[in-house]
């Protein structure tokens, strides 16, 4: 439908809010309470406009004015554009004196009780209230009374601190918890001008609590880990991808003086919308702890710092008699495609079949995978042997979205709809659309009507039988089968099922029910690496399966069953494995890498290195180069550029020039092999460790603050 904004005309779909229509037209109104993905509520009253619409007469024709144009019936009051539905022929005015005065007056009201904390507030420089006051305010206040006082250092949890005085009552945080993870944690207390935000005892028991820091328009909710660590203009911002799990959420990593201080969520409408999980958000604390910045070499039984030259000399002399084909190469599955193709090339140069990555797929269903967008719009979801909270947390949020029937919001030239009128507070959830079969409790159990504890593989067999018509009446398996038969249903299987080798069965169930199948990768790039030849070749040994003369192991924390005679470890910290190595090469973490990852949908996304100080740490490619150099060999993949060239040859040119949203590419046929190593994601443990480190950093911050 056509809508007129000031002097411009735009075409917008029916159901668009006046706010999105006017942004689409390139106009601007200030707003505090609206936020993409949250329900519009019309609370801040900043986004006022004048609006009117033509009307149709009894004959169905537009009522015309003196000039023969459709007569505009103006609404008697200024309207909050966020909660006003645009309609055919609507006229919206954003630039009149009345609108300007209304907006300036509202800025004045909003600022009345807002403390003058800007010089010491972590939000300063990135504060919506500062910006909007500057753009739309009077520039002066006529308020001569004492401001409202409330608690300024109120820890909502170890990780999030609340300043009740700074709150402008936009309700974003309250709505976020209710609407996105579906966990009500905080609300307003008291009323009128005394209204303040509070939680209940026990902190914020949600795995997604940190998002409220990103969405608070002011400095009322702050990241306790980053507290007072830097001003917004001092940070180096790096737009990259979280490598915590296979969802691959878009994030911005903020570093100052070479140290990562915080990670914030970044909008990716198709992947994480704008949310990230706490484990990913606060992962930098642990990632930066105990970092190796130089190589280490075992001398006299001790690992001591050494230069790369010394390492090279050492390896050159140690490897003289070692047949290259006997050298093992093993890596974790969070390495980039670039590192992966370098690993593959190195194995080829060595002529070694002793190569593997872990954890990994041992089977991969030959079915198209659903995207996260499709998951969020699924008609029903059956989860077997997966704990999304531990394996792919933000995918859990997309399932919550599907349970609310909150179809992904429309996209405009200005981005995701700011005020999507389809969303409302307290939308009805549909737990009947979700069924979970797993042996241990999972984070989504609270949202499902059907939860069955037990062996997921046995459950899938029973569902398969039900699909073939062999079920006893009214069993949970029959119900699950019926859910899967709904057009647009999805079956999600994770580590527990895959560890038991249940993917074939899952594939069978998906095929016979017509459901889509999402097999969760066990690590951030486990899916991408499956398309490189990184599994044991002819006669090759999997990790720890044979006693090899030499093995290079990157970022792998598991101890092998069989130890190589000479162990080279490439890692960020002195892990238990590294502590027993002969050579330790310092590695960069996922926050510091450049390269490409493939998320659980098959989306290729680019990693960019944050501005952190990492000493001599490198990614895997130079570590492999060092090994080859010691052997006097040379790989065609020796650096990022040659790696990308190789990838482009393999997968098509787009790998080198990914658009900001990444790309869903067909990667061809996977390379698969059985593995005796359990397909076991480490995300759960990963999250616990990372959050513990973040809490420690927050406590240290707090101690500093108290000491001041």
């Amino acid at each position: 439908m056509k809508v007129f904004v000031d002097d411009r005309a735009v075409e917008v779909p029916a159901g668009t809010s006046a706010m999105d229509a006017l942004f689409e037209a390139g106009r601007d109104v200030p707003y505090f309470c609206s936020l993409p993905y949250l329900s519009p509520i019309g609370a801040c009253r900043m986004c006022l406009v004048e609006a009117g619409s033509p009307r149709r007469g009894q004959d169905g024709q537009w009522i015309l004015d003196d000039q023969g144009q459709p007569k505009i019936f103006w609404l008697p009051k200024p309207m909050a554009s966020c909660t006003l539905a645009a309609s055919e022929g609507m006229v919206i005015r954003t630039q009149t004196d009345a609108v300007r005065k209304a907006q300036a007056g509202m800025v004045e009201f909003t600022l009345l009780n807002h403390p003058l904390d800007c010089p010491t507030c972590d939000k300063g420089g990135a504060c919506e209230l500062q910006d909007r006051s500057y753009e739309y305010g009077y520039g002066a206040s006529r308020f001569v009374f004492d401001r409202r006082h409330a608690d300024k250092h109120y820890p909502l949890s170890d990780l999030v601190v609340l300043d009740q005085e700074r709150c402008i009552h936009c309700k974003r945080c309250v709505r976020y918890f209710e609407e996105i993870p579906g966990q009500e944690m905080i609300d307003f207390i008291e009323r009128g001008v005394h209204t303040f935000i509070d939680g209940y005892e026990g902190g914020l028991p949600s795995a997604f609590s940190g998002n409220i820091v990103d969405l608070c328009p002011v400095g009322a909710l702050l990241d306790n880990v980053a507290r007072f660590r830097g001003r917004n203009w001092e940070y180096d911002h790096t737009a990259t991808i979280c490598t915590g799990c296979s969802v691959g959420c878009s994030v911005t990593v903020d570093a100052r003086n070479g140290r990562v201080e915080r990670i914030v969520g970044r909008d990716h409408p198709a992947v994480n919308e704008r949310w990230i999980c706490d484990a990913g958000r606060f992962s930098h604390a642990l990632e930066e702890e105990g970092r190796l910045t130089t190589p280490l070499l075992r001398r006299g039984g001790e690992l001591v710092p050494a230069s790369f030259d010394e390492v090279l000399a050492y390896l050159t002399s140690e490897l003289v008699d070692v047949p290259p084909a006997q050298i093992g190469l093993y890596s974790s599955s969070d390495i980039t495609l670039e590192e992966g193709i370098a690993l593959e090339a190195t194995a080829q140069v060595l002529g070694s079949g002793h190569v593997d990555h872990l954890p990994r797929f041992s089977q991969l269903p030959a079915l198209p995978r659903p995207t996260l967008h499709q998951l969020a719009q699924a008609s029903a979801v059956v989860i077997a042997g997966a704990d999304l909270g531990a394996e792919a947390p933000v995918a859990e949020l997309r399932i919550q979205e599907m349970l609310r029937g909150a179809a992904p919001p429309p996209q405009f030239r200005h981005g995701t709809a700011i005020a999507d009128l389809k969303l409302t507070e307290r939308m009805e959830r549909h737990p009947e659309r979700l069924a979970i079969f797993s042996s241990a409790p999972t984070s989504l159990d609270r949202s499902a009507d059907l939860v069955v504890r037990g062996d997921p593989q046995a459950a899938l067999s029973a569902i398969a039988a039900a699909l073939e018509g062999n079920a006893q009446a009214a069993s949970p398996y029959l119900s699950a089968a019926e859910l899967l038969r709904r057009p647009g249903a999805t079956l999600v299987v994770g580590s527990e099922l895959q560890a038991a080798g249940g993917l074939r069965l899952a594939e069978k169930v998906a095929r016979s029910s017509g459901a889509a199948l999402l097999a969760l990768p066990a690590d951030s790039n486990a899916l991408g690496l499956a398309y490189l030849r990184l599994v044991p070749g002819e006669g090759g040994a999997a990790y720890g399966e044979a006693i090899l003369p030499v093995a290079l192991v990157s970022r792998c924390r598991r101890l092998p069953a069989q130890w190589p005679r000479l162990l080279i470890v490439h890692d960020t910290t002195l892990s238990a494995l590294a502590a027993r190595a002969d050579v330790v090469l310092p590695a960069v973490s996922g926050l510091e890498k450049q390269g490409t990852l493939v998320n659980l949908e098959g989306r290729l996304q680019a990693l960019r290195p944050a501005a952190s100080e990492v000493g001599e740490a490198t990614d895997l490619i130079p570590a492999l180069g060092l090994l080859l150099q010691a052997l006097g060999l040379r790989s065609p993949v020796r650096g990022l550029i040659s790696a990308q060239r190789a990838l482009a040859q393999r997968f098509g040119a787009r790998v080198q020039s990914l658009p900001p949203e990444g790309a869903l590419l067909d990667l061809g046929e996977p390379f698969l092999a059985e593995t005796h190593l359990q397909h076991q994601p480490e995300v759960g443990a990963w999250a616990a460790a990372h959050l513990a480190a973040a809490r420690a950093r927050a406590a240290a911050n707090r101690a500093l603050e108290v000491a001041k």
């Binding site: 004045e108 009345l112 001008v193 409302t424």
Partner: protein, 447 residues
């Protein structure tokens, strides 16, 4: 009706006028089922239950009844917004939160004659296919709540509530819910939130309650007096109701009068009765000189106490034409020698205290700022520019808040400045009120 329609009844002194709503208020035991039945109670419900529900809505439409909760919205039209045959649960809510200063009519309807409300709700519930009703009653109305509870249990025991009401196929469950002391709970959507156990903040409209109300289901909400009037409409007929009143304001109405008059209280009068009749003939006239009249509860703009206003019929259109509202019909008189700034501050304090805090102009503008400016003025610490500040602030609030509460506060503020600017200016520039404060209880006043 005859070809020459009789002159409508627009005065309580018209011999054709008879009390209906308040006919039995004050009688000993009037709240019991026995008393109610003795005077023909539940006949209207019996008649209604034998009718096609749609005909009831037609009858209410024909009666010209308009909502008595303040806005005067046509009741029959509102009922017809309900999706009538959608098979979902429908709710009927009775708004008994009566918290607006100057309004105190519903209270006695409930404490003195609760069965006529129950009967009205039965009829309304049947008409709208609502099998569950709630009476959301102001928490302070303890006696009224007790009498209602008592009446409901009597009615249940007598087969008037519950399943198969009065032997028909209609089921109707009715419950009383007591509020916890917030004026905003009278706003219909905040009331629904409160009833659901949520914070009493108003909800976004649309969707309107008939589409998505209590628990997201079709809901109609009416004021106590509106629902009681339905009982009499079904008993005596739409034309009986429509013969009272003037223009588009029909029926019998409970007017309230407070302030310095000889007999303040609630008076049932036909709509269209003049202010003069209420004040002089019924309330016995003022006890001291009056300067302003608030025609319908504290949110309605003040009007000057002068003849053309006193001669106005108390109907929705006539009062609106003078720039105010009939509201709930709660008339408040403000004495000549009472400082208008202080009087208005009293009302601003009320609204500031009752702001729910959801939207910025009301929370910050009224509760956070305006009330302080008033206090400053009344304490003699004002400055001349403060009066314009209040006006400008009012302009920045007017029509911009989420619900009507903020505008309700501006009613007395803007009108009192418009009418009595010199009092404001005097106080703001000298620090002294034109009418100094005096005790009205200890002989200091003109009593």
């Amino acid at each position: 009706m005859t070809a020459t329609a009789p002159r409508p009844i627009t005065s309580g002194l018209d011999p054709r006028f008879a009390l209906s709503l308040y006919a039995h208020v004050g009688e000993q035991g009037s709240w019991t089922l026995e008393s109610y039945r003795a005077r023909g109670g539940y006949q209207a419900a019996r008649r209604a239950l034998s009718m096609d529900p749609d005909r009831i809505i037609d009858e209410v439409k024909a009666s010209g009844l308009r909502g008595r909760g303040g806005a005067g919205f046509a009741t029959g039209l509102k009922w017809s917004f309900m999706p009538l045959k959608d098979g979902r649960q429908h709710y009927l809510l009775c708004n008994a939160d009566e918290s607006e200063p100057g309004s105190f009519k519903d209270r006695y309807l409930m404490s003195e004659d609760p069965h006529q409300l129950i009967e009205g709700m039965l009829i309304a519930g049947y008409a709208m296919r609502a099998t569950v009703g709630y009476i959301y009653i102001r928490g302070e109305y303890i006696l009224a709540a007790e009498r209602l509870e008592g009446a409901i249990s009597e009615a249940r025991a007598a087969g008037i509530l519950g399943s198969k009401v009065l032997g028909s196929d209609f089921d109707f469950q009715l419950q009383v819910h007591r509020g916890a002391g917030a004026y905003i709970c009278g706003e219909e959507t905040a009331l629904m939130n409160s009833l659901e156990g949520l914070r009493a903040n108003p909800r976004l409209k649309p969707p309107f309650p008939a589409a998505a109300g209590l628990y997201g289901l079709p809901t109609t909400i009416n004021n106590v007096e509106t629902l009681c009037a339905v009982t009499h409409i079904l008993r005596y007929g739409a034309s009986w109701h429509a013969q009272m009143g003037s223009g588009k304001s029909l029926g019998s109405k409970l007017y309230q009068i407070s302030g310095p008059v000889h007999r303040p209280g609630v008076y049932e009068l036909p709509m269209g009765t003049t202010f003069a009749e209420l004040i002089e003939d019924w309330a016995g006239g003022p006890t001291e000189p009056i300067k302003a009249i608030i025609p319908g509860g504290s949110s309605c703009p003040m009007l000057p106490y002068q003849q053309d206003i006193l001669d106005l019929p108390m109907d929705y259109e006539a009062v609106a034409a003078k720039g105010s509202m009939l509201g709930t019909g709660g008339v408040i008189l403000i004495p000549q020698n009472y400082c208008i700034v202080n009087a208005t501050w009293n009302l601003v304090r009320f609204y500031a205290h009752e702001s729910c805090g959801k939207c910025t102009p009301c929370r910050e503008g009224i509760a956070g700022w305006m009330v302080h400016v008033y206090e400053k003025l009344v304490r003699g610490q004002g400055r001349p520019e403060d009066v314009d500040l209040i006006l400008d602030m009012s302009d920045n609030i007017a029509g911009k808040s989420f619900c009507a509460l903020a505008d309700a506060c501006l009613g007395p503020v803007q009108s009192s400045i418009a009418l009595f600017r010199e009092e404001y200016d005097h106080l703001a520039s000298t620090g002294q009120p034109l009418y100094p404060r005096q005790s009205r209880w200890l002989g200091g006043g003109a009593r």
